[in-house]
Symmetry: C2
Subunit: 210 residues, 2 copies
Amino acid sequence: MDDKNISQAVVARLPRYYRYLGDLRDSGIERISSQDLSKLMKVTASQIRQDFNNFGGFGQQGYGYNVEYLYNEIARILGLNEKHNLIIVGAGNLGQALANYMNFERRGFIVKGIFDNDPDLYGKELRGIHVQPVENIEQFIKENDIDIAVLTIPKNGAVKTAELLVRCNIKAIWNFAHVDLNLPDHIAVENVHLSDSLMKLSYSIVNGNR
Amino acid sequence: MDDKNISQAVVARLPRYYRYLGDLRDSGIERISSQDLSKLMKVTASQIRQDFNNFGGFGQQGYGYNVEYLYNEIARILGLNEKHNLIIVGAGNLGQALANYMNFERRGFIVKGIFDNDPDLYGKELRGIHVQPVENIEQFIKENDIDIAVLTIPKNGAVKTAELLVRCNIKAIWNFAHVDLNLPDHIAVENVHLSDSLMKLSYSIVNGNR
DNA sequence: TAGATTGTTAATCGATTAACAATC
DNA sequence: TAGATTGTTAATCGATTAACAATC
C-alpha cells in the first residue's frame, strides 16, 4: 500500500508522465534522466524526481530511469492494471459519444450498460449495448460488478441520480453534469465541467494568455 | 484593463463562483456575504474575498455582495459579454456531440463551421451546419471572423492541425486531443484531457478517495 | 575509479488562511 | 450610532525549486 498523503497536484501530474513515458517507450527509448525528461515535458527535473519519490525510488543513480519500468509503475500507481466496469447514465450527445469512444476500453474501463430516462432511446444500440431505463440501474449494478458511473445527464437530475448511485454502492462517479455533487468521502468523484473549461479559455482570450 | 498577474488558481475558480451566483440570482437572492457564500461553496470566506479583490472591490462593508452585480462582473471578467465564433475541427463522436450541444451558444460561443478529413462525413448536417473538408479551414476562418477552434481529432494529426490554425490567426484552441500543443504564447490553449481525468478517478478508487 | 544522476534535505516561492482596521 | 462585513495586511501553510551528499 502506498503512502496516503500524496498531494492532489502530484496525482494530477501522473497521467501526463504516463503519456510521455508511453511515447518514449513506443519510440524504443530504454532509459531517460530526469533532466532529459524535464526538457521534453517543460517542467523542472527537481519536480520530476520529487514526484516519483512520493511513491518510492524508481530510478538509479548515474543511470536515470528505465522507461518501461517507470511506465509500468505509474500504471500500477494509477490503478490501470485493474479492470473497471462502468455504466453511462445519460445517453444524450455526450453519453453516446463516450459510449462510442473505444480508447477507454483499451485502458481497462469497460462500458457495461447505458441508461436514460427518455423512452425514445430505450433499446437504442451503441457498440452492442442497448440503452435501458434508469429504473434498471440498481439491479444492473448489483449483477454486473460496476465500479464507475459516468454521469452525462443535465444538471437538474444529477444530484438525485448521484445519490441513487451511492445507495447502489458505486465506487466512483465521473461527473459531466454541471453541478457539485457533495457525496460521502469514500466515493471518488472526478468532475469534467466543460463549460468551466470554455470560460477559462474565454478569459485567456480577453485578458491575454499570460 | 484588469490587473495582469492573476494566478491560474484564481481564474480557475471564477467559473464556479459564476455558477453559484447564477443559481443564487435565479432563486431571487439579492445579496450574500462572503461567509454565507463560503458555507454554500465549502471554501473559506477569506479566499472568496481575496479572489474578488484581485479584480477590484465588488462588495460593500456591512452589506456583503450584491448577487446580480457580482454575477455580471464575473461574466465581464471572464469575457462572457463578448461573442466568440468557433469552428469544430474533427467531426467524430466528440466533435458531433459538442456541435449538437446547445448550451455553449447561450453563453455566446457560436458554432460557425465543422471540419473533418473523412469524405464520408462531408455534407453531413449538424444543427444546420454542414461538415466541410479540412482544406477549407483557412479560407473559412478568414471569411467568418473565427476566434476559437475546437480540436476534436485524434492525437496524430493534432499538432500539425494546431499549427495550421495558428497560421490562420486563430486566437484560441480548445484542445480535446491527447497531446500537448506547445504553441506561441499569444495563443490561448485549454486542454480537456478526458483520459487523464479518468486516470485520476482510477487513482482515487484504488488509493482511497483521501 | 570517475562521471553521472538519483534521492533527499534545505531554501524559496506562492497560495491560502487568519486577523483586524476601515467603512458602509 | 452600533453592527456587520468588507478590503487588506500579516501569518501560515504547502508546493516548487535548488543544492548536494549518496551511490550506481
